[in-house]
């Protein structure tokens, strides 16, 4: 393998994931659910649109989860499957999905940690199934970028970074 395997995220995947997350938000009363790739990229956001910089948020979430993974190993655990960060008003709950992406749930005092934890279990099982299918599929049928893409991308790189 040359680098890490690429994967693609299609519209039908987005719809299935949004369906699962919308259902979960309705049942748990949480504000927002986000899916972040372990490399630090935002995949999907459902619920109240976050006011923060979501790109930065995704990179920090991935770093947070990875650092805690290493801490788990030091304790003799294979991983911490979930993390909880408690704030005065806003809290977040993070759960691993198929070892490749992270489900982040943002919630406030309209709900409780107990309810979020209870409802997230079903969502995690459903999401794990969807993502496992996606990862198994990739490399076989993912459409690539158009052939003109490369030339145009190079032009943009010259423009942005100085020719």
């Amino acid at each position: 393998m040359s680098g890490a395997s690429s994967w693609s995220f299609r519209e039908e995947d987005a719809k299935r994931i949004q369906g699962i997350l919308s259902g979960f938000l309705g049942e748990s009363n949480a504000r927002t659910a986000l899916i972040v790739d372990r490399t630090g990229q935002m995949v999907s956001t459902v619920g109240e649109a976050p006011a923060f910089d979501s790109t930065a948020f995704a990179s920090l979430t991935a770093a947070d989860f990875s650092a805690n993974d290493q801490l788990a190993r030091m304790l003799g655990e294979t991983e911490f499957g979930a993390l909880f960060h408690q704030g005065e008003r806003e809290s977040m709950y993070l759960a691993d999905i198929a070892r490749r992406v992270i489900l982040v749930v943002l919630f406030d005092n309209r709900t409780t940690l107990g309810l979020v934890k209870l409802r997230v279990k079903t969502a995690v099982v459903q999401l794990t199934q969807v993502f496992t299918e996606m990862f198994n599929r990739d490399g076989t049928s993912a459409p690539g970028v158009e052939s003109e893409f490369l030339g145009e991308a190079e032009d943009e790189i010259d423009k942005l970074f100085g020719a």
């Binding site: 393998m1 040359s2 680098g3 890490a4 395997s5 690429s6 994967w7 693609s8 995220f9 299609r10 519209e11 995947d13 987005a14 790739d37 372990r38 490399t39 630090g40 990229q41 995949v43 999907s44 910089d53 790109t55 930065a56 990179s59 920090l60 991935a62 770093a63 990875s66 650092a67 290493q70 993912a142 459409p143 690539g144 970028v145 158009e146 052939s147 003109e148 893409f149 490369l150 145009e152 991308a153 190079e154 943009e156 790189i157 010259d158 942005l160 970074f161 100085g162």
Partner: protein, 224 residues
């Protein structure tokens, strides 16, 4: 592992600046942040100690614009250079699409450069990646200092090349950035490929964008 998101029509590529401590990785990102059009860049995040040493990483997203219907973004990361931060350094390499090794040209830092390069190879291997097969560039930084080692010496130590086994690639490949030099060449009967290299003074910005342009074009080529 650039992720193509067909739902949001986005392609995100991860570039990691690697190298010894105090070599200029963060300075590279700061220069990009200061010079690139504000509309094209996001917030720069630095997880640093009180003395401004990188503790975990620096992060800067740069937006290339929409190409053929896809929003293309580069996510620039640095790693902490100090030897004892290896655990966090390794984490940042996860899912990397291109690596820039920022070497400190000062002759006294040769051992630190070599140690960091060795460490890069080890960490990449542990992730299952091969440095010789992904976009990889070396930046020789601090070229303005009087104690900077000659390029030939740095190249021999840090960029000796790897054997080219694919017969299709066994032909001279000129280095587009340096006249009469080659990225692929035959030496003592063996075909060798070297990483492209760039000279820089990151503090003044010299060579920073040349490096970034070089690596990002090579990363974009892997999307095709």
């Amino acid at each position: 592992m650039s992720m193509i998101n067909y739902a949001s029509r986005e392609i995100n590529c991860k570039l990691v600046y690697y190298g010894p401590g105090l070599g200029g990785k963060t300075t590279n990102l700061e220069h990009v942040y200061n010079k690139v059009a504000p509309a094209a860049r996001g917030k720069m995040i630095s997880l640093a100690t009180e003395t401004e040493r990188t503790l975990f990483f620096d992060f800067l997203p740069v937006d290339l614009g929409t190409i053929r219907g896809f929003k293309v973004k580069f996510h620039l990361y640095t790693v902490p250079g100090q030897v004892y931060y290896n655990a966090s350094r390794k984490l940042i390499l996860k899912g990397v699409d291109g690596v820039v090794f920022v070497a400190d040209s000062q002759i006294e830092r040769m051992d630190a450069n070599l140690e960091a390069m060795q460490n890069l190879y080890e960490n990449m291997t542990q992730h299952g990646y091969d440095v010789s097969k992904i976009p990889f560039a070396i930046q020789y930084n601090k070229r303005d200092l009087p104690n900077a080692a000659p390029i030939a010496e740095l190249q021999a130590a840090l960029n000796p090349g790897w054997p080219v086994t694919d017969p299709m690639k066994q032909r001279p490949l000129p280095d587009p950035h340096h006249d009469s030099e080659f990225l692929v060449s035959q030496e003592d009967g063996q075909w060798i490929e070297r990483a492209p290299y760039f000279e820089a003074v990151a503090l003044t910005g010299d060579g920073v964008f040349d490096t970034l342009k070089g690596i990002s074009k090579n990363v974009v080529k892997t999307l095709g």
